[in-house]
């Protein structure tokens, strides 16, 4: 006991702090933003906005600085390895784009700004901690850290019944999922006696030879892992556990919807890859079959439901459910290649979704279109540039070549083909065709002039439109859209660099 403490004192304090440095930077900035908001004397201007941006940028710099290290901290509960580097970059970009797009949007609602930005930072820190945790306690704590901040953000619009209802539904199902997660942990703990997933891994694969696990341990382990899988499936919004997704995406402020759709999904998938690759022992139970069924159900249901939607936010919510099904295909394909493909898909998904939501916010700011898809009719001629970029993001989500969505789908599907999941690919391809239908439906609507008021577009009015755009589209929104566009193109045209990066990150998963 004393010995470990001495080691801890002399050596591990620095390493422990270093292993959570990127998260720590974010948390410290969140506190600064929160406490600066207390001083009424400071004018309620852009302080918190710029400070949060600086925090995110600092955190990205720290991640890059530590990028080729493998640090194990806090008695082995937290690691910082290659996996973290890739996923942190994706999460931090999700946070950065969310903060960038919320400048004008959140001021519209006349809500306290400091708390908003600090909560965004806390959510981002929670996601990062979740990805780097390798202990069941840490996984639970950081999921709750992330989710509790997200519950508050979802209900952030005071007095808006939709926002409150979304928060309520998100809270109930989110806690329900957490309960499954910890009840699963009980059984994993009962079977193995460890909480650290690397210790569990060693117990399963080396401590006793694989056939040597007794029947009762097998039973406990399979119950525990299935409950754990259910808990994570809620966070990943896989099919039977997806019910909260469309409602909370719809009711939440659009910026928060973007954070939930990009950041939380990335974090949930990353921790699932980490846990799945280490403790989901397929000799105990054939988890690949379960994932196969979940994946097929998720993408089919997501796409079918998205077909029927008339609200753009709900459509994007169902499309994000369908995308979760595609991401799962990479994990089912498994191995180094499959996980690399899934990580690549996650990164490209962040940029296409963030871009699409940024444009939904542009239309919301301008009051030119409600969330109803019908009101998108004919705006392609009024706002050519914005509509063109919206079309580009929708094509990326549909998986049309040249975009990142195509490359993501390509790698994920080829990973599954490598592992001979032919039927899965067949269903996934059918689904992609189905999905392309509703994405292209929006594009067609935007460029369809038959709508009544679209005929009134004249030169004089369009110059008035230009001033309206200039007043309402802040530079930060334009930067958001441009960043998303660049990365969506770059990941689509030149994916090798990112694939290489992702494959390096995945290598660290097996360096246990």
């Amino acid at each position: 006991m004393l010995n470990t403490l001495q080691i801890y004192n002399n050596y591990l304090v620095e390493r422990s702090l270093l292993s959570v440095m990127p998260e720590l930077v974010i948390v410290i900035f969140a506190f600064i933003v929160l406490f600066l908001g207390l001083f009424r004397k400071l004018p309620d201007n852009d302080n918190s906005y710029y400070l949060s941006l600086i925090g995110i940028v600092f955190s990205i710099l720290y991640v890059l600085m530590l990028s080729n290290q493998n640090i194990n901290g806090f008695f082995g509960s937290v690691v910082f390895d290659g996996m973290d580097v890739f996923v942190f970059i994706a999460i931090l970009f999700a946070g950065l784009l969310t903060i960038l797009m919320s400048k004008k949007y959140i001021e519209m609602f006349n809500l306290p700004l400091a708390e908003y930005y600090s909560l965004i930072l806390f959510t981002v820190a929670g996601m990062m901690l979740l990805v780097s945790s390798v202990n069941l306690i840490m996984i639970f704590l950081s999921i709750e850290f992330m989710s509790i901040s997200a519950y508050i953000l979802t209900g952030y619009i005071k007095g808006n019944t939709r926002s409150t209802e979304a928060a309520l539904k998100y809270f109930i199902l989110g806690s329900f999922a957490s309960a499954f997660l910890i009840f699963g942990s009980v059984f994993i703990y009962a079977a193995t006696g460890h909480l650290n997933i690397y210790n569990i891994h060693n117990f399963l694969y080396t401590g006793s030879s694989n056939s040597g696990l007794s029947a009762s341990i097998r039973d406990y382990l399979s119950i525990g892992l299935i409950l754990f899988l259910i808990g994570l499936a809620f966070k990943m919004s896989l099919f039977p556990f997806h019910a909260w997704t469309p409602d909370s995406y719809d009711g939440a402020p659009t910026t928060v919807t973007n954070l939930m759709a990009t950041g939380i999904k990335v974090a949930a998938f990353a921790i699932f890859i980490r846990v799945f690759s280490s403790i989901f022992d397929s000799s105990v139970f054939n988890f690949y079959n379960i994932l196969w069924i979940l994946s097929v159900l998720t993408m089919t249901f997501g796409n079918l439901a998205a077909l029927l939607q008339t609200n753009i936010k709900r459509l994007l919510a169902y499309s994000s459910i369908a995308q979760a099904g595609y991401m799962l295909i990479g994990i089912i394909g498994g191995g180094h290649y499959g996980y690399t493909a899934t990580l690549f898909y996650l990164l490209s998904y962040v940029f296409m979704t963030a871009g699409a939501f940024a444009i939904v916010i542009v239309f919301e700011n301008l009051n030119i279109a409600s969330f109803d898809i019908k009101s998108y009719s004919g705006i392609g001629y009024k706002y050519p540039l914005i509509s063109a970029s919206m079309s580009f993001f929708l094509l990326a989500l549909a998986g049309i070549p040249v975009t990142s969505g195509f490359m993501g789908k390509f790698y994920v599907f080829s990973a599954a083909i490598k592992s001979n999941y032919d039927w899965l690919i067949f269903i996934a391809l059918l689904n992609s065709a189905l999905a392309a239908f509703y994405y292209i439906k929006i594009i067609v609507r935007m460029y369809m002039i038959s709508n009544g008021d679209a005929d009134q577009v004249e030169l004089g009015e369009s110059s008035a439109n230009m001033t309206a755009i200039a007043a309402n589209i802040t530079p930060s929104l334009i930067i958001t859209i441009i960043i998303s566009l660049i990365f969506t193109l770059l990941l689509g045209i030149y994916p090798q660099m990112f694939i290489h990066f992702a494959s390096q990150s995945v290598t660290s998963l097996w360096k246990i």
């Binding site: 209802e165 910890i182 009840f183 942990s185 006696g193």
Partner: protein, 99 residues
């Protein structure tokens, strides 16, 4: 001393809590059912920890209790906001967002 008995009791408590979340209409009762699910897991952890003569399970229980308190605070905040807007805490009134 058989660990199965404890885990079965914990499982029953967990199922009661889960059923409560799914079928009860009163928001506060739903929150109580969630707490019941968390505490079922706590019971399991304490039992396993005692059975295997380890301490990590007990530590997990402390963290679960603290997080449950934090969740309760958020939950009550959301419930108050809901009551102010709808004048009731019947969960069936949360019906604006569907499909």
């Amino acid at each position: 001393m058989d660990i199965n008995a404890y885990l079965i009791v914990a499982g029953i408590l967990f199922s009661i809590g889960g059923l409560g979340v799914l079928i009860r209409k009163n928001l506060i009762v739903v929150f109580m059912s969630l707490e019941l699910m968390f505490n079922a897991a706590n019971l399991g952890f304490v039992a396993v920890s005692g059975y295997l003569n380890l301490i990590s399970g007990d530590i997990f229980v402390i963290f679960v209790m603290v997080v449950a308190a934090a969740e309760a605070a958020i939950a009550l905040g959301i419930a108050i906001a809901f009551y102010r807007e709808k004048g009731t805490i019947n969960i069936d009134k949360a019906n604006e967002l569907k499909w």
